[in-house]
Structure formats: structure tokens, C-alpha cells
């Protein structure tokens, strides 16, 4: 899918505030977002900082997302457990799934987290969906419904090449 389609689907569901750390998985989609006048983006210095910034949106009645690579999952485990999940503050994590499929795909530093990424979210009992070229609307609707129902953070895993 093209980047514009991806962001329009999020904006259409009320997501206009994002913070994050870049990942090459999103390719040109990152640039599209940063130049979109309807989106406010804060370039965070770490994934946990991005989560802190984005979570403020809940208190002003808005929706917000964190953009990150899955190597940053470790950096958000503590804020997820002792902030987002404890206070029940929803936020959407949009996670670039590096190392998907294991070796020889991607670089060695992504192999272990690439194999384990969904399991981290299962362990934390967080709803998560994997974006496919043909499931944008349904994946977002399922994920947001689960986040709203549980007032919980959720994760959208995005493999390389799905957004172009």
C-alpha cells in the first residue's frame, strides 16, 4: 500500500499526534508523515520517551501513536508495565518488524528480536495485529476496538515492503 493510504486510514480514525524513533521499514512513509500538515510529530530520542510524549494525548481526548523499530521494544517494557498498562492509558505502537522470518533475512542484530517480537506483546497481554498489504482497514479496526475495550496500549507490526 502507498504511504498516503496508510496515514489517511490512521487520520480517519483520529490519530493525528505521533512521537517516535525512525525505522527504515517505513521508508518514504516517514517522510510523508512528517510533511503532513494534519499530523503533529515529535522526534523523540528514545522509544520510551516517545511513549511518554504520545500518552499525553489520552488526557486531552485524542488518539496518538508511537513509531518505532522492534529493537526498541525492550526500551518500552518498563513504561508499558508500570505506566500504560497500570494506569490503563491506550496508545498505538506502530512497530517496524525487522528480522522477520529469521536468518538470513535482515541483519544479525535483528534476528532474535525479529523472532520474538509478537511474543513480547503476548506476554504483556497487549492486543497486536500484523499489517498485510490487504488488511489495513480491518487490522486497524480490530486493534483499535481491542484497545478501546480494554483501555490498553496495542501494537501494529509492520514488515518491510508492506508500506511503500
Amino acid at each position: 500500500m502507498d504511504a498516503q493510504t496508510f496515514w489517511e486510514a490512521l487520520k480517519g480514525r483520529g490519530f493525528t499526534f505521533f512521537a517516535g524513533v525512525p525505522d527504515s521499514t517505513f521508508g518514504s512513509a516517514y517522510k510523508t508523515m512528517m510533511t503532513d500538515p494534519d499530523i503533529r510529530y515529535v522526534p523523540a530520542v528514545r522509544e520510551d520517551v516517545a511513549l511518554g510524549v504520545a500518552s499525553a494525548a489520552y488526557f486531552t481526548g485524542r488518539r496518538a501513536g508511537v513509531i518505532m523499530q522492534n529493537s526498541g521494544v525492550g526500551n518500552v517494557v518498563n513504561p508499558l508495565t508500570s505506566f500504560s498498562l497500570m494506569y490503563k492509558i491506550p496508545v498505538l505502537l506502530i512497530v517496524g518488524w525487522r528480522g522477520y522470518g529469521g536468518p538470513p533475512n535482515d541483519a544479525p542484530e535483528h534476528w532474535i528480536m525479529g523472532a520474538k517480537s509478537p511474543e513480547f506483546f503476548d506476554l504483556l497481554e497487549m492486543p497486536h495485529e500484523t499489517l498485510e498489504p490487504d488488511n489495513l482497514e480491518s487490522a486497524l479496526d480490530r486493534l483499535i476496538a481491542a484497545m478501546d475495550e480494554g483501555s490498553t496500549p496495542g501494537a501494529l507490526l509492520v514488515r518491510a515492503g508492506v508500506i511503500e
Partner: protein, 194 residues
């Protein structure tokens, strides 16, 4: 040196009813709770280091409200990268207060490295337009007066002593109670602006 609890009481005296006050994990939240348990207080009872980024987000999204971030030297050092991020985003309504007692008092007063690191200098280097370092109560009063302006972000480093408050309570509200009453304080102000 200022007793931290005295500093917190002094700061809270200057806070207006609609201002948001965020406090970090450990003793600082317990002392804020004990000094003045306002509905517009957010006690971050876990997630050390996360408070300043949460405060940045609130300051950006609710620009008409003054946002006070009260954290310690340990918390500030844990998330040092947030200082230049706050300066870059420069929310005019953010007041960032570091209560620097050069120790992790909540876990038994183990020393931090802030006796060797001047946090105010780091704030200036990060790009905060207003940085004040205070070590007595009169200077703190002056610094908080300056923070009443609208040209933040402001950074105030309060050199504090280690003086545990006898019988200090724990925050008695549940996490979701803290969340809900704080949210109503933020929304009330945002609705008033519309």
C-alpha cells in the same frame, strides 16, 4: 540547601488551581500527595525517568495550561536525552523542576552522580531559554515567580538536602483514580478554551 519537602510546599503554594502538577516515582510523589493532594496532580508512581516526556506531551497538547514537572536528579539523569527534546519543542508553558539532593533517597539515599554533574549547565547546553539553580528558599521563591511568565520552557534546579519526612504517607488513590481525576482536570481546561 533546602529541605525538599519545604521546597515542594513552596512550589505548590504558587501553583494555580488549573495548573497541572506531575511528580515522579518515589518520595517526591509521596511528598506532593502529602503537601497538597489536588485533582490536577499526576503521581507517576512507577516508570522512573518517564515523567519529563509525559510532561512535554501534555505541555504541547494543552498549551493554555501551565505544566509543572517535579522530578529528582536520579530521574533526570535517567532520561537526560529528554532535556534537548524539551528545548527543541520549546513549550512555553512547561516548568521543569529538578529537586537535586544528589541521591536516590527513595531507595535508601545511595549517592547519585549529580554531585559531580551540574544539572543546570546541562539544561543550558540542552537549550532551555530559562535556567535557574537555587540553594535557598528565597532564591526558589524568585525562580518560581519567574516561571509564572509565558516564555518557557523553564528549568529550575533546586539543590536539596536529604531530610526524610517522618511518617510520610503513600499515594492512596488507585492508578485509574489518579488517571481519571487528572484527565478531567486537563479536559476541563481544554473545553473552556473551545
Amino acid at each position: 540547601m533546602i529541605d525538599r519537602y519545604q521546597a515542594i510546599q513552596q512550589i505548590l503554594k504558587r501553583v494555580k488551581p488549573d495548573d497541572l502538577v506531575l511528580s515522579t516515582t518515589g518520595m517526591i510523589s509521596r511528598e506532593v500527595f502529602t503537601a497538597d493532594d489536588r485533582t490536577a496532580n499526576f503521581y507517576m508512581i512507577g516508570s522512573m525517568g518517564l515523567l519529563s516526556s509525559f510532561g512535554l506531551g501534555l505541555a504541547l497538547l494543552s498549551p493554555e495550561q501551565k505544566v509543572y514537572v517535579l522530578e529528582g536528579d536520579g530521574s533526570a539523569l535517567m532520561s537526560l536525552g529528554t532535556l534537548p527534546l524539551i528545548a527543541t519543542e520549546h513549550p512555553a508553558n512547561l516548568v521543569h523542576i529538578i529537586l537535586d539532593n544528589e541521591a536516590y533517597e527513595s531507595t535508601g539515599a545511595q549517592p547519585s552522580i549529580s554531585s559531580n554533574v551540574e544539572l543546570a549547565d546541562l539544561g543550558r547546553a540542552a537549550g532551555y531559554p530559562h535556567v535557574t539553580r537555587v540553594d535557598d528558599i528565597e532564591a526558589l521563591e524568585g525562580a518560581i515567580s519567574e516561571c509564572q511568565g509565558d516564555s518557557g520552557p523553564y528549568l529550575v534546579v533546586v539543590k536539596s538536602g536529604i531530610a526524610p519526612v517522618e511518617g510520610i504517607g503513600r499515594v492512596s488513590h488507585s492508578p485509574t483514580e489518579i488517571r481519571d481525576r487528572f484527565k478531567s482536570s486537563v479536559l476541563k481546561e481544554n473545553e473552556a478554551q473551545c
